[in-house]
């Protein structure tokens, strides 16, 4: 039996990513200055980004596909990676967690996400997911001297393992029904056999696992604890990357493999989306820790983004992707501000910030309003685009619920602004500014404003 050597072009980005990650492991021994490693990491990411558009195609016997859908997601992952590295540089030093493996693991995790986005076979999907998940478990616990970090890692790990067990059970049933793990072939087969209860069970099991990754209620409960405990840079990374990856696979698997039970999963997702928006927004209101608040906010945003999937149209998917793209900037931007402050994890740390650090406060203000979805910020464009697609798909009532929740969300985002601008300062807020962090903030704030004012940049 002679198998031809597989076409490597479509996987080049992943290859570069993994090679760089591996190389970083070795280079770590050589370079004492970890900034160099970060720089290499960014270079690698940039290289991947440069190569990506050329990597269209299928390979490995159709297990891997590089199409515009996956490429867009990979862009998000790379942006997420670059921004995370930029905000990490000085921060992990401060947190005494500056290991060379840190960057390597970030790259591995990103590679995992990229595999998820490109997976055409459930096996690849599972392995990519585990690659991403295992790396992030470690990253969450990388402040190993910190109990909170340990706690976060343990919780994330155990629940992650639990959810992937559910995923596997679902996949195994799906396999039993179709004798294949190829997503497209599954779709073909299922079209022929029709809907069975087993199929519904397997779909639900798989959905639960993915919903866990995007932190949708009621599978969200890990998120606040993990976001709070993990190093802030990793929280930023997790709140965008795995979420986007989760949406990428939901989009692909549900739209192809489970096409014939679309009504069923749409119904499920509608319920989940409403619950997620409710839980995220309502619970965020009473938080006193900003990371925790942003965790609930990211849960809420997952709820909105789910609407894009529910729409069931190409426009819906596009809107979902645009939303994630914009969300990456505004969310990481917000976390970058949390990082820039010496003490920035509690909401009370922000009291009187506008007086002390007017620029930092102004930037935070922009991110908060963007997350709320107030024009002229990118957050508005994201929401607008999404809601338009969903309404066009006929779910106006769902959008009304969503906008009401987003009005509620203004309350907790405003609390940050209120603390910064309208409360008396308790103590001078020290900031840790580094060129890389400034660059990250600059990029994010510019993107938030530019997309807000000239949306044609992203939706052309």
């Amino acid at each position: 039996m002679n198998i031809p050597f597989p076409d490597l072009r479509p996987v080049t980005p992943e290859i570069i990513m993994t090679l760089s990650a591996t190389a970083l492991l070795i280079l770590e021994l050589i370079f004492k200055n970890k900034g160099v490693l970060a720089f290499i990491g960014i270079l690698a990411a940039a290289a991947v980004m440069y190569i990506m558009p050329a990597s269209m195609g299928e390979t490995f016997g159709g297990m891997f596909i590089s199409d515009s859908y996956s490429i867009f997601f990979k862009f998000i992952f790379i942006i997420n990676l670059i921004l995370t590295i930029l905000i990490s540089l000085r921060y992990i030093q401060r947190q005494k967690a500056e290991y060379g493996e840190y960057y390597s693991l970030l790259l591995f995790a990103t590679a995992g996400m990229m595999l998820m986005a490109s997976a055409k076979d459930l096996i690849i999907l599972y392995l990519g997911l585990e690659l991403m998940a295992l790396s992030t478990y470690i990253l969450a616990g990388i402040k190993r001297h910190d109990v909170k970090s340990n706690e976060a890692a343990i919780k994330y790990f155990l629940l992650g393992g639990f959810s992937s067990a559910l995923l596997l059970y679902g996949i195994s049933l799906l396999y039993g029904m179709t004798t294949t793990t190829d997503i497209y072939k599954i779709a073909e087969h299922l079209k022929a056999t029709g809907v069975t209860t087993t199929l519904l069970l397997s779909m639900i099991l798989i959905a639960v696992a993915f919903l866990f990754k995007i932190a949708a209620a009621p599978f969200h409960m890990w998120a606040p604890d993990v976001y709070e405990g993990a190093p802030t840079s990793i929280t930023a990374f997790m709140s965008v990357g795995p979420k986007a990856a989760g949406f990428a696979v939901i989009g692909r698997v549900f739209y192809t493999a489970f096409q014939n039970i679309q009504t069923d999963w749409t119904t499920i997702l509608i319920g989940i989306a409403i619950l997620t928006m409710a839980v995220g927004n309502i619970l965020a209101i009473v938080q006193t820790n900003i990371k925790r608040m942003l965790a609930y906010s990211s849960i809420a945003h997952a709820g909105y983004i789910l609407l894009g999937i529910i729409a069931g149209t190409t426009e819906g998917l596009n809107a979902m992707m645009t939303y994630l793209f914009i969300y990456a900037f505004m969310n990481i931007g917000a976390f970058a501000i949390v990082i820039i402050l010496d003490r920035g994890e509690e909401l009370s740390d922000y009291e009187g910030l506008a007086k002390n650090r007017p620029l930092v406060a102004a930037l935070m203000l922009v991110f908060m309003f963007s997350l709320t979805g107030i024009p002229p910020t990118a957050g508005f464009i994201a929401k607008f685009n999404l809601f338009t697609a969903v309404i066009k798909a006929g779910y106006t009532w769902l959008v009304i619920i969503a906008v009401m929740f987003s009005a509620i969300s203004a309350y907790y985002y405003l609390r940050v602004v209120m603390n910064m601008y309208m409360k008396e300062m308790k103590q001078e807020a020290a900031i840790h500014l580094s060129p890389s962090l400034s660059l990250a903030i600059l990029i994010t704030v510019l993107m938030v404003l530019i997309i807000g004012i000239m949306p044609s940049m992203v939706i052309g």
């Binding site: 109990v147 706690e151 343990i154 155990l158 639990f162 596997l168 059970y169 396999y175 039993g176």
Partner: protein
């Protein structure tokens, strides 16, 4: 010949036992083992399917699952050790600092 359903039933029972173990036990190690139980139940069903469908894919998948399970166990135990160094705790009661 044993019907396929029997295997699936067995797999389901073990899966659920693992799940219940995960939910009710406070010991992190046992929880980890419960996850392994669940994975094994999946393996059983995959091998059974593989056998009955006359297709090797299931077994290949099992192979990967075992690999990942190993990696997972390693990482999980490493995290546990890191936690244990800071705080002699293997119970979930003791890692409830973050909540609400």
């Amino acid at each position: 010949m044993v019907p396929l359903n029997w295997y699936i039933g067995l797999s389901a029972v073990i899966f659920v036992i693992g799940m219940v173990g995960f939910i009710v036990r406070k010991n992190i190690l046992i929880m980890l083992m419960s996850i392994e139980l669940m994975l094994n139940s999946v393996n059983i069903s995959l091998v059974a399917f593989s056998h009955y469908l006359q297709d090797l894919r299931g077994q290949v998948f099992v192979f990967f699952i075992i690999t990942v399970a190993a990696a997972e166990a390693a990482i999980g135990l490493a995290i546990l050790v890191a936690l244990f160094k800071n705080k002699a705790a293997v119970h979930t009661d003791e890692i409830m600092e973050m909540k609400g």
